[in-house]
Amino acid sequence: MALSDDNKEIEKYRSYSSIFSSSSFIKLLRYNDYSFIDAKINRYDRAKIGNEINNYQDYIRYVYLQLQRKYRNEYIYKNTFINSFLLNHYGVKDTIAINEFRVGNSIADMVLFNGTSKAFEIKTELDSNKRLSGQLTDYSKIFKECYLVTHHSLTQKYLRENSNIGIIEWVEHRNTVQMQEVREASINPIIDPETLIRTIRTQEYKNIVKNYYGSLPEMNSFNMFETCRKMIKHIPNDALNQLFIDELKKRKSNTAILKSFHKELRQLLLSMNLNEKAYYTLIEKINKSINIT
């Protein structure tokens, strides 16, 4: 049975989607391995090479635009969120953005720490919303504000379903895409210390205890978690929230330099936490002409 043209198109976009993968870009950086891009060029776009597309950067931009028009997956949403919301609306001064942040049994697509803490869950038109309420319950245990990022056509449905979360929607004006805030998130009055200590790193919960109480108590590595857990429970909630935010802002992140990166690649580079030097090496590599034989 032959695939219908529609199915073939979708296959192509799925295949395009796999280009924006950090493990593939790590291979490119380390071993000059272009095969993950070459395979797509060979399969779909040989005829374009030498006409409108000359180097890998051109091709990545072309693929990105195709996806943005026809197959808006999570990568496109996250990257658009970074470009139009994080960089323009919030700003990155004194801000740390972290990609894929685990809380309880859920993983937030993106979280931000600046003066406050925000968690973002992305539901594209291609996603199901099966796990959404559980995810939001988890995030609200330690984040002050929770946002859902979704397509304009789904906004009304989500506005009705949950009254506490903020909504950011994807809108298109002719050829440009943007994101805009439809509703602000309401602020969680308290965060849960039990979830907090299970989410952050050992050094981070030790620092929180040390910063609040002035020093660490006598403990060994076997009882350290229990000892700190009890002490963290006694820190007033507002102080704990502030210590948590301060601590997470110490994590190494390339958030501040995202704006200097190519706009199609920002989400990828955030998730790889690539520094400036490695970024320039990568740019050199993708500026290479495509030479398909």
Binding site: R30, N105, R198, N220, S221, F222
Partner: protein
């Protein structure tokens, strides 16, 4: 590599073990540290010169970077993993004049292929490491066969070992001579596949081998109890390690590796996941070295 390094220093006078080492890191740091220690401890080792995994792109780097350490060829055995590239391996052996070479056969090997037969027929080749392969062993009589068994049955998640508790690991040390082998080998308490990196685990499992009364080697899995999230890895280690030490005490098992594990429990110290793995491997090496009669 740390396990091997320490084993070489602590094993005492007798050694029955030839580690087969596959270099995977292009930096060679751990090799540069460990190989001289093996040589000092008179532990002859086989070094795979055509690694199939890891990030070494140019395999000739191995002998270049480690030239000083490998200068005395009587200290080590050149080893090759045999896939379908029989001619490549053949050429490398001849070009470098390697003697007493070890071939490690994969499932890709076709024993009817003339190029394979040319390779295995080289007088430079001495050791054949393979899964039980009766037809090959009948055909080739003048080589030292070493039987390779992948004994460690990996579970998907560490918490899955809770239900298994213990299982038979191997009995080859009892039968390999009778079965016409010059030796036997395993992947210690690791899975045979090389796995890169890792994330914070939900459960900690410590795998220790020990001899049953009938001399079979069994492997017992000691697993943490609070496995519902990824927090408090130190506490998870404490749970698993206490179970392990209780068992070791009841069986009166003492190796350098178990002494180390006992001291972590006594001092209530978490050594890190790498050390847990090291203890498990070193313990297995010490155990087998003890069990084998030859000096």
């Amino acid at each position: 590599m740390i396990a091997l390094r320490e084993y070489a220093q602590q094993k005492g006078d007798k050694n029955n073990i030839i580690p087969i080492i596959e270099p995977v890191r292009a930096t060679f740091n751990s090799m540069k540290l460990a190989l001289p220690k093996l040589i000092d401890g008179n532990v002859k080792f086989a070094l795979i010169l055509n690694p199939q995994v890891g990030d070494i792109q140019n395999t000739s780097e191995i002998t270049e970077v480690l030239r000083n350490v490998l200068s005395n060829r009587s200290n080590w055995i050149p080893a090759f993993i045999v896939t379908k590239k029989y001619k490549d391996v053949n050429r490398t052996i001849i070009e470098n004049g390697y003697q007493d070479v070890m071939l490690i056969l994969t499932d890709m090997v076709d024993i009817e292929d003339p190029n394979f037969n040319a390779l295995i027929g080289l007088s430079n080749v001495r050791f054949i490491v393979t899964k039980e392969n009766k037809s090959l062993k009948r055909k080739i009589r003048d080589k030292d066969f070493v039987r390779l068994d992948d004994n460690f049955k990996a579970q998907k998640r560490n918490s899955d070992y809770l239900a298994i508790d213990e299982e038979k690991f191997s009995e080859e040390h009892l039968y390999y001579i009778e079965d016409g082998y010059a030796g036997f080998s395993d992947y210690t308490t690791l899975v045979s596949d090389f796995i890169e990196g890792g994330v914070s685990p939900w459960a900690i499992a410590i795998h220790l081998t020990y001899p049953k009364e009938n001399k079979e080697i069994w492997i017992k899995h000691f697993v943490s109890d609070t496995n519902d999230d990824q927090s408090n890895i130190q506490g998870k280690f404490a749970e698993a390690a206490k179970k392990a030490v209780d068992f070791l005490d009841s069986k009166r098992i003492h190796t350098h590796a178990t002494t180390e594990l006992r001291s972590y429990v006594n001092e209530q110290k978490y050594p890190g996941l790498g050390m847990v793995k090291k203890i498990s491997i070193k313990h297995h090496l010490e155990l087998l070295n003890d069990l084998l009669p030859l000096a």
